[in-house]
């Protein structure tokens, strides 16, 4: 079974600094997708960034980028120039296309941004 592990229950960063959130996953598949979702307090979960496993190039969305290491089954999220609005719970998620659209989520990392 596919599993996703986020080993950092909590992280904190100073405003304008850079922080990296870790995620590892376990799968025997070669074609899959990885996602980072952000869940602000009392607000809906939104997609931050996605990565297709067949792409070697790391995905980037403005201040958000990933470090995808397929062989190591590692998928970390880097947030540059952190802003107060980045404070949220961040979830790493995995999707194996052949299994349909089922997202498997990690347990989340609570990010605090200090002014």
């Amino acid at each position: 079974a596919q599993t996703v592990t986020q080993s950092q229950p909590e992280m904190s960063v100073q405003e304008a600094e850079t922080v990296t959130l870790s995620c590892t996953y376990d799968t025997s598949e070669s074609d899959y997708y990885l996602f980072w979702y952000k869940q602000p307090p009392s607000r809906q979960m939104i997609l931050v960034i996605r990565q297709e496993a067949y792409k070697q190039q790391n995905a980037t969305e403005n201040r958000f980028s990933v470090n995808f290491q397929k062989a190591a089954k590692s998928f970390s999220l880097k947030i540059s120039d952190s802003q107060l609005g980045d404070a949220a719970m961040y979830f790493c998620a995995y999707l194996w296309e052949t299994s349909g659209s089922r997202l498997t989520f990690g347990e989340g990392t609570q990010l605090t941004v200090n002014p």
Binding site: V4, Y33, Y37, S42, R43, Q44, M45, I46, L47, R50, F91, A93, L95, E97, G100, S101, R102, L103, F105, G106, E107, G108
Partner: protein, 114 residues
Amino acid sequence: EAEVAQSPRYKITEKSQAVAFWCDPISGHATLYWYRQILGQGPELLVQFQDESVVDDSQLPKDRFSAERLKGVDSTLKIQPAELGDSAMYLCASSLPGVVDTQYFGPGTRLTVL
């Protein structure tokens, strides 16, 4: 910007009572998902619809949970009877029909069972 709507936002009930949650997906999204998120954990898929058909309910406790999407638009998730362990956030999400299309989440319904 179109959003997934859910109601109620909060629900408190006593065990053995019946509860129902409603979800209205983004217009045009054929795929609808119900997830359960226990406090401190990531969401777990309960059921997935493609239009009005269930395509995945392998994690749905069918002895007490039911879900329907009669006209392929909005959906209702029901629990009867509710148990203490059902206290959680129930999230609805929707997407276009492609398997890897982005899932858009609603604000959720926070259920507390006393």
